[in-house]
């Protein structure tokens, strides 16, 4: 064999290998392309069915309701309808906001957004309270409620549990970048209805109590229903993973976070746990009297100290009343100009003084913060709105 033949061999083999890789790559690409084409045809079929259904429903007699189960292409996790003639909530699906901006002429979006192109179907509208309407799919199907409104179809769902929302605004009074945004999360709830009921009760309590009552236009309340990612440790007091809680809470505007920890009263009588407050997060034991939420919020929002006396706790730490607006030393010069205040003995430690005989920061027998604390909280509320 010639020398040139020997040196040419590795090149020959490498050429074979490279050609094999190329053929393989091109082959795989071709298979993928043809399967993609098949999927594209499948998609078109599904979308045409949906389009026909919506348009046919619009032609039916006014008010006629129809519940339909629609088939969707495989892989779609959520379908989001938007009505561009009405206000679109930015809180329903954070990632959808950018898609809406990106595809200005489309009104039906599919999640995962990066895998499915949005489409446009005319002749449908949504109720303003559910715009966008995002519904989760079940085995590539989704249930829709279609109501004929004369010349268009009103799309909704008969099964509210199918609706998904990253963040549910419960009381939206002013733009979120200029208001106190309080977001509720849950922990330990087995029943979502109980959680919703609890959140509603706590919000009502806020709105009944001064200074929040007269400044409600500066406060927005939100709720996150899917709180499965939260991690809390229930020992003598409630401790939650701050990173996970804040990550989840960031689905909503989140100046302050309230985590409701579901506890039965009986269980709590046997093994009492403490509500707590740290950073901008209040963790509430729902077995406690509900005004405890105001007490904890007083800590995180107003930097208010405890006005009850617990020598055992407070003598161990270097408690300094100068760090808090509601505790002072005699003669209580901090609030000497605040009407209806006095200089009562006991504020965290018995040697310090408080402004009112009783307030939410002292005990839960009253539903008022007292004139001094109300003023402190109002001052902070005035930074908004």
């Amino acid at each position: 064999m010639k020398k040139s033949q020997i040196t040419g061999r590795p090149l020959f083999y490498s050429l074979i290998i490279i050609s094999a890789i190329l053929i393989l790559t091109v082959g795989v690409k071709q298979i993928k392309e043809s399967s993609l084409k098949a999927k594209e045809i499948e998609k078109i079929t599904y979308y045409t069915t949906l389009k026909n259904l919506i348009q046919k429903q619009a032609l039916k007699s006014f008010g006629k309701l129809n519940e339909k189960t629609i088939m969707l292409p495989k892989g779609i996790e959520k379908i989001c309808f938007i009505d561009r003639t009405k206000n679109i909530s930015p809180f329903t699906n954070c990632n959808l906001n950018e898609e809406i901006k990106k595809y200005g002429d489309k009104n039906i979006f599919f999640e995962p957004f990066n895998k499915f192109e949005p489409i446009y179907i005319e002749n449908f509208k949504l109720d303003e309270s559910e715009n966008p309407l995002c519904l989760k799919t079940f085995r590539s199907t989704v249930k829709l409620s279609l109501k004929s409104m004369g010349n268009y179809t009103l799309i909704s769902t008969l099964k509210p549990s199918d609706k998904t929302s990253d963040c549910i605004p419960l009381l939206y009074n002013s733009p979120y970048n200029n208001s106190v945004d309080i977001v509720f999360l849950g922990y330990g709830y087995k029943n979502k209805d109980t959680y919703r009921k609890d959140v509603k009760e706590y919000i009502e309590l806020f709105l009944e109590t001064e200074p929040f009552k007269s400044n409600k236009e500066k406060i927005n309340f939100y709720m996150i229903e899917d709180f499965s990612s939260i991690e809390c440790e229930i020992k003598s007091w409630i401790k939650c993973n701050e990173f996970k809680a804040k990550t989840l809470a960031s689905n909503c505007p989140n100046d302050y976070i309230i985590i409701l920890v579901d506890r039965s009263k009986i269980k709590d009588m046997i093994n009492p746990i403490r509500s707590s407050a740290k950073s901008n997060i209040a963790k509430i034991n729902t077995a406690d009297k509900n005004t405890v939420v105001l007490h904890e919020f007083g800590h995180i929002f107003g930097n208010l100290a405890d006005e009850y006396v617990d020598e055992k706790y407070y003598s161990r730490i270097n408690f300094d009343p100068r760090d808090y607006p509601n505790c002072d030393t005699t003669p209580c010069s901090k609030w000497s100009l605040v009407p209806n205040t006095s200089c009562f003995k006991g504020c965290s430690l018995s040697k310090y003084r408080r402004a009112t005989k009783n307030s939410i920061m002292r005990s839960l027998t009253v539903n008022s913060f007292g004139p001094l604390n109300e003023g402190v909280l109002k001052e902070r509320l005035d930074l908004y709105g």
Binding site: M1, I6, G8, R9, P10, S14, L15, I17, I18, S19, I21, C94, N95, N97, E98, E99, N114, Y176, N177, N178, D181, K239, N241, E242, F243, A245, K246, T247, A249, S250, N251, P253, N254, D255, P272, R274, S275, S276, A277, K278, N280, D288, K289, V292, H295, E296, A305, D306, Y308, D310, Y313, Y314, I317, F319, S348, R362, L364, T365, R380, L383
Partner: protein
């Protein structure tokens, strides 16, 4: 020979190109936030991890007069966003006994804490200063993107190495076989055949 080399070169480039296509991926930009996970322990702050997600940052209207300062820096070392914050070392724990409260404040000397910050596309790093204005922590925000590219290059490199290795093996195997065949004489390979009437 030159033509063969060019073909090989072209093929290799094509393969690299085909491998790299899926790695070039553009992601939609929306209302994003950085969620930074930090740890405080006896005066020092360490970085644990972070995520970038779609979401809303707090507006930080209430900030402490004195405290730590966090700055988001641009590649030109300009401050694009800044806040003051306190490490949450105060934990209020309140026991409710019917309507009466007891318990109190715990002062922690170590804690994990998190900050939600607005996302800036051009942010290069996050810098944290203590109360004395001393830089105590810098978090690189650009490390994620190159690591993704690195991964795809590792892939290409791996494929190339394997191909070269296979080529080398084949070459060695063939070379061995060739030297073996040239070393052997035809007599060695085939035992001599003597006809039955061969003398001796």
């Amino acid at each position: 020979m030159v033509a063969l080399k060019t073909i090989i070169k072209k093929n290799i480039l094509l393969i690299i190109g085909l491998i790299l296509i899926p790695a070039i991926h553009t992601e939609a930009v929306c209302n994003k936030v950085f969620v930074i996970n930090l740890n405080y322990n006896q005066g020092s702050i360490t970085y644990k991890n972070k995520i970038i997600k779609c979401g809303f940052p707090p507006d930080y209207k209430i900030q402490p007069e004195e405290g730590y300062r966090l700055e988001l820096m641009s590649p030109e070392d300009k401050v694009v966003y800044s806040i003051k914050f306190e490490v949450p070392l105060k934990a209020y724990t309140d026991e409710v006994n019917s309507y009466m409260l007891s318990g109190g404040l715990l002062i922690l000397n170590q804690t994990d804490f998190a900050l939600v910050l607005p996302y800036y596309e051009n942010a290069k790093n996050i810098v944290i200063y203590n109360q004395n204005n001393e830089k105590i922590l810098s978090i690189n925000l650009t490390e994620e993107k190159p690591s993704m590219r690195k991964q795809s290059f590792i892939w290409v490199l791996l494929i190339l190495i394997i191909t070269i290795f296979i080529m080398l093996l084949l070459y060695r195997h063939k070379k061995k076989k060739y030297t073996k065949t040239t070393a052997e004489t035809p007599l060695q390979r085939y035992p001599p055949f003597y006809p039955p009437n061969y003398p001796g």
